[in-house]
């Protein structure tokens, strides 16, 4: 059976990589706020997976790379200030004639940016996985190793905290 093949087969490893890498990279990006670090940590985690391919079953591979990546993150980049930037063209064509509106939007974006930096890493990661990636509670709960209810709580708490921060800035 395909599922039972171990990860030491290159085909199987490539499949595993393609299935997991984007989500893991995003997760590390939400944690670190740095694309480069997210990339490096993710690659390193998969290298570890390859080196231990005989010991890690395909079923365990996902939690393995997430755990390795999280540990690498904790060792290397935890406790740094996290700032997320926006993509360049953020405003829709309909509204881009109104300078007043554009200014307000820009200011709001900056407020949100600061508010995001103030979230705890735990809240921020769960919240961004939900809102940016559109992941369901179940999936987030699985990655974070918590219950779905706890995941929902983190996300809604993060949302409310952001709202209050924006109001107060």
């Amino acid at each position: 059976m395909e599922e039972e093949k171990d990860i030491c087969s290159e085909v199987q490893f490539d499949k595993m990589y393609s299935a997991l890498v984007v989500s893991l990279r995003n997760y590390m990006f939400f944690k670190s706020g740095s694309k480069d670090r997210a990339y490096d940590i993710t690659q390193e985690a998969f290298i570890k997976l390859w080196q231990n391919c005989a010991k890690v079953t395909p079923k365990k591979a996902k939690s393995y790379v997430y755990t390795v990546a999280t540990n690498l993150f904790l060792n290397e980049v935890a406790h740094e200030k996290v700032v997320f930037n926006y993509r360049k063209e953020t405003t829709s064509p309909v509204n881009n004639q109104n300078p007043q509106y554009l200014l307000e939007e820009k200011e709001y974006g900056e407020k949100l940016q600061r508010a995001l930096s103030k979230l705890t890493e735990i809240q921020r990661t769960a919240f961004l996985m939900s809102r940016v990636e559109g992941k369901k509670y179940r999936e987030i709960a699985e990655i974070l190793g918590i219950s779905e209810k706890a995941a929902g709580k983190r996300i809604s708490d993060a949302l409310e905290t952001l709202r209050q921060h924006i109001e107060n800035i």
Binding site: V21, Q51, G109, S130
Partner: protein
């Protein structure tokens, strides 16, 4: 805020009618705005293939190192390398280095009781191991040798090699000049393809890129007795010597560069040395700290 509906929205299961209901709440409208902005965060690449290619390259290089770790023959080779390097460092630890600063000479005793007097600003290096079988050393600068009889004795310099059996001789190898003087016994000097054999009182000197033999009638070089001796040498050379003996700066003003000097000056007293040089040449001098100015007499 209806928590149940909020969770439905966050989990992507809110129905359109429920959405309408939620929108009546101004707090939810703020949530929607946050949500729309957050989705614009500049995200890393969502493409898996590029990362996989990078990973493959990395894994290939890591695998190579793995092979080195496991190969039995490579283990043997690695052990051999370690043994060799230990041996090398053991040998290197027997290597002796001597250096002199400006205005300093040093007398050295070699393992076979041969004597070397190292002149200022010179460097000598030899290996103590097997010295009696292999008497070979390297020299930069100037040194006077009194070699006891024994195996071939080689002095390697930048310019050439001096080979002797048992004798007294002086080697001066500085910058462009190379000069070997034999005081006792016989000395062989090799420079490129030229080989000269010197008898007592002979000297070999490098002139215009050729090694030539000349006569020199002294029994020891002057500098050993704290004197520098010159025979019809350009003033420039004399001043260079003065400069290095006393570690001073020399400034010349309106001096005829073609002046030549024969004589010796002491290495112990700068003023006396300056007197001996300037008087016969009709020059005057002024000393200011480490700067000496030479100029023509009015």
């Amino acid at each position: 805020m209806n928590d149940k509906l909020l969770n439905k929205w966050l989990n992507g299961t809110l129905s359109p009618s429920e959405m309408e209901e939620m929108k009546e709440n101004p707090v939810f409208m703020e949530y929607l705005k946050i949500d729309s902005f957050v989705k614009d965060i500049d995200m890393p690449s969502q493409d898996a293939s590029e990362g996989l290619n990078h990973l493959k390259q990395k894994l290939v290089s890591k695998q190579k190192t793995k092979v080195i770790k496991l190969g039995v023959w490579l283990k043997v080779a690695a052990a051999a390398v370690i043994i060799f390097s230990v041996g090398y460092f053991y040998n290197a630890s027997l290597s002796q280095n001597f250096s002199t600063q400006l205005a300093q000479t040093e007398t050295l005793q070699l393992p076979d009781n041969s004597q070397v007097i190292l002149n200022e600003d010179s460097h000598l290096n030899f290996n103590e191991k097997n010295w009696n079988e292999n008497r070979s050393l390297s020299l930069e600068g100037e040194a006077y040798f009194e070699v006891t009889k024994g195996a071939v004795f080689d002095v390697n310099t930048n310019h050439g090699t001096v080979t002797v059996l048992g004798t007294k001789f002086n080697v001066n190898d500085r910058n462009d000049s190379f000069e070997v003087v034999c005081y006792e016994g016989s000395v062989g000097v090799k420079y490129e393809k030229t080989y000269l054999k010197l008898s007592p009182g002979d000297k070999a000197v490098l002139r215009n890129g050729k090694l030539v033999s000349e006569k020199k009638h002294t029994t020891q070089p002057g500098w050993i007795h704290d004197e520098s001796t010159f025979k019809n040498k350009p003033i420039d050379m004399v001043l260079q010597e003065l400069k290095s003996v006393y570690a001073i700066n020399i400034i010349t003003k309106n001096i005829d560069v073609d002046l030549r000097y024969t004589g010796s000056f002491t290495n112990l007293d700068l003023e006396v040395a300056l007197e001996t040089i300037t008087l016969p040449l009709g020059l005057e001098y002024a000393i200011e700290n480490k700067n000496v100015t030479l100029f023509e007499k009015d």
